[in-house]
Amino acid sequence: MSIVATKETRVVIQGGPAGQNAARRMAEFCHLIKQPFIVSAFVFPPDAGKTVELPYGSQLISVPVYKTIAEATTRHPEINTSLVYVGPDRAYAAALEALNDKKIQLVSMITEGVPEKDAKLLTKAAKERGKLFNGPSAIGIISAGECRLGVIGGSFDNLVLSKLYRPGSFGVVTKSGGLSNEIIWMASQFADGITTAIGIGGDGFPGSDYATYLDLFEKDQQTKAVVIVGEMGGDLEERAAEWYGQKKRRIKLIAVVSGFCAEVLPKGMKFGHAGAKEGAHGEGTARRKAELLRKAGAIVPETFGKLGPAIQQTYQELVRAGVIKAQEDVDAAALPKLPKTVDQAIKEGDVFVEPLVKTTITDDRGDEPLYVGYAASDLINKGYGIPHVIGLLWDKRLLSAQEAEIVKRILMLSADHGPCVSGALATIIGSSAGIPLSQSVAAGLLMIGPRFGGAVTDAGKYFSYAVKQRMTPEAFLEYMKANVGPVPGIGHRVKSVKNPDKRVKELVGYVKSLGIPTPHLDFALQVEKITTGKKENLILNVDGTMAAVLVDLGFPVDSLNGFFTLARTIGFIGHWIDQKQQGSRLIRLFDYLVNYAAPKRRDVPPLK
């Protein structure tokens, strides 16, 4: 048995993420006590029509979201309780909507910072309708082994440690959320645990209070004693004392009150709870509350430290009197466990998961990315640059300063080649059509292929094959003619012997000036000598030169097209920005640039 939150309780939660989090915690409890999930619906207008997925054991449960309480209770007539998790400015309207619904009997509000007037109006509305309004600022209600409303009870481990999977004999009512958990824990250590624990919230005038629940506990035969945790301010503890002292009560009452420190602290100081404030004329002091409770027959330990022993003593007396039958403890190991996430299970060595992807270059699981083991910030601080990052991520090695300088020059020389080349034109057309940056640049990159910028890898592949096979340039050309076709890296649309490519001259000149061995570049230049003898424009082009130099530096053939792609991306981005800033108009070809060689207009024959 229990009060307020029972096996019959079915819930609608009003609110967004905070409410969903509470629902998750409630699902954990349902899983622990092997009960079906009790949250039937959410009401959260921004997400109306969607569903919220919540883990229940190892399953996922879908809970629908509605715009109004009426929709929720019409579709789910079992709902009898609402938990309010909306902000303080809308909490009043939300709770009133719930109180106005015929099916809902209990509204519990966790929202903090709700204006006092709103709380009073809701209390009045609940009273007029014969319903229960708990809160504001109330952490929730939990009945051991039966029902959890809100996050009260804490994490799954705490539910088990505090024996919340089965009822005990103690009721708990507190203002504070944290202390409700503490008392539940104490009741499980010093006694046989709880029946129901209720957080009523620390506001000045909560919707229901100690006296409300003491009355209900008195009628619940399973509850033999109740622990209330009070604090200075207001008169809720006085009302509890009055209730307890009115007549002979079945339940034992244990009470602690905080706020004795106020006697030595500056007058008018505010504590954490809105209600924890002394009245203007000394009403509501901790001392007076403790005295009244004691006078009414409650057990009131002098300090919080003595509460545990007081609970223990009360429990033992009740057992001796035969009021409580000591129960055998459930084997905690036999209780349902909260399924581990894959992360946790791996961490604890419980499962092995075959990885889906393997990487040999990078790791960003720490506080910053590591490039082949080197922290990005270390590289920066020790003077390394972009070419070194390329060396690491494309060839897994730290380049020398000389190699880095060559890579840098290659990137600089090939960063752009004007708007007319196919790639830049594609980007420009994209930009002028209002296409965003990444898509327009991608359009340019799509042009990179055998006829534009994409011959570097192939050129490197054949040059390195020839050098490896110790071919003569003549034999190489024979081989290419017989097996491949035109030599990648040789030939240019406009450049020729008479109109040499300045970029090639620059790069070759610089690399040769370093006096390093360059077998592939030397071979390519010998090939050029022969091909230009046949036709003036069969020069070693920029793709071929880059390829030969990069292979000489030891870069893998697979990386070579990357250099052009990377470098030219800089240019494409520039073209996109340039067009964007000019506000260029949509580009459309002129008819006179098209040779219309399609058939002239003719009659369409009837469809057969």
Partner: protein, 402 residues
């Protein structure tokens, strides 16, 4: 409850149709002559000058001067502005007209369970302090404003002469309306008086407390709330209040000069039990603080900074119950960050740190705290198996955990 200072408080009364003395609030003496040029009453009337700050016993401290002419008022304002009293500086002065009157009365509206109480007495001023029993009360249920007949009956029963019953009842109606519409929690006018010049009821002085939580629906509340414990808030207290106002969850910080035991506990409820435990053992609190509702770690870190900066502390109590949803690991990460910075600034010299906590990620959080010992902190860490306030016994009495 949030206290509103006299200037904005009087403006609220005026907004709801009640007569108040004319007044101006100034922050520098230069403003005074300019105001006197355009406000004839400042030249014609006898004036009252008061420090416009939440400082207790202003009369005794010489921060209230009455019956002044323009020159006298200007001189008094000049003297008060910038004056330092108990470490607090007077930044604002209110100058109001002295209202000639004879009898004084008392009216108030007070928030109570389920509604409000309207209080009135046909005596007021300091006389009421010794005659509280003369106050007559009327309960008003929330959402049901008082009937004029009920207010007249109240005025009559308080002993107002018959010609005053109607105007007093009307005034009480306005005061209730102000209380209800402005989310008041305690409005007390003492004294209320009968202005000789125009036969109007005038509120001479008032205590105005409103519900700070209702600020969201009062865009015209352009005032900041004043402290209620006899001194203005310090800069550190204001800094934490400012953070508190814009985060999920809460952080609270109030300084108590002269203490040696600093509080840094979790929970509005548990924190007061920690404070009680310290006081019960004869310890001296250096502050009241708490954090709750799973606040962001940076906010807890900022709070930790302020706690570590309290002068003369010998110990810091990082207590807390078993949290429902506050992430112990994350909030402790904020506290640890604050401790490390304080230590690097040489602030925690000889300070003991006592920790007790439970809740989500308690193992990880407590382990991280325990690890501070290796960094040279004098730290003692306990988990849920040590009762809540036992760390206070150990910290102050040197008792070890049983």
């Amino acid at each position: 409850m949030a206290k509103v200072l006299e200037g904005p408080g009087m403006d609220l009364l005026k907004k709801w149709g009640m007569e108040v003395p004319r007044h101006v609030v100034i922050t520098s003496p230069d403003q005074f002559s300019h105001l006197a040029n355009v406000n004839a009453w400042l030249r014609d009337q006898k004036l009252v000058v008061k420090a416009h700050e939440a400082i207790g016993s202003r009369m005794k401290l010489g921060l209230v001067k009455v019956g002044l002419d323009l020159a006298g008022a200007e001189k008094a304002a000049k003297e008060m502005l910038g004056k330092t009293v108990g470490g607090m500086t007077v930044g604002q002065v209110i100058i109001s007209e002295m209202v000639q009157h004879e009898k004084e009365y008392y009216v108030a509206v007070k928030s109570v369970r389920d509604g409000a109480e309207i209080l009135t007495a046909a005596v007021g001023g300091i006389e009421i302090e010794s005659q509280w029993e003369k106050i007559q009360r009327l309960f008003v249920s929330v959402g049901s404003p008082p009937e004029p007949a009920a207010l007249k009956k109240l005025a009559k029963s308080a002993g107002f002469p018959s010609e005053m019953v109607d105007p007093v009842a009307e005034f009480l109606g306005k005061l209730y309306e102000c209380y209800d519409q402005e989310d008041g929690q305690y409005l007390e006018i003492n004294p209320l008086t009968w202005r000789a010049s125009d036969r109007q009821l005038v509120a001479l002085d008032a205590v105005i407390m409103v519900d700070g939580d209702a600020r969201f629906r009062h865009p015209d509340w352009n005032f900041t709330f004043a402290s209620e414990f006899g001194r203005p808030y310090s800069n550190d207290e204001r800094a934490i209040m400012e953070i508190d106002s814009r985060i999920k969850g809460s952080v609270k910080f109030i300084e108590i000069p002269g203490g040696d035991t600093a509080l840094l506990p979790a929970g509005g409820g548990a924190s007061v039990y920690y404070a009680d435990a310290v006081v019960a053992l004869g310890g001296k609190l250096a502050n009241y603080s708490e954090y709750s509702g799973d606040p962001p770690d940076w906010a807890v870190e900022a709070l930790t900074d302020k706690v570590c900066s309290l002068p003369g502390i010998k110990r810091i109590i990082v207590g807390g119950a078993i949290a429902n949803f506050t992430n112990v690991k994350k909030t402790f990460a904020g506290i640890i960050g604050g401790f490390r910075r304080a230590k690097s600034e040489g602030k925690l010299e000889g300070v003991e740190i006592w920790v007790r906590r439970g809740g989500p990620y308690e193992k990880e959080g407590l382990a991280a705290m325990q690890a501070l010992e290796k960094e040279g902190f004098n730290i003692h860490v306990y988990d849920r198996w040590t009762p809540l306030t036992d760390i206070i016994d150990m910290a102050i009495q040197g008792k070890r955990a049983s």
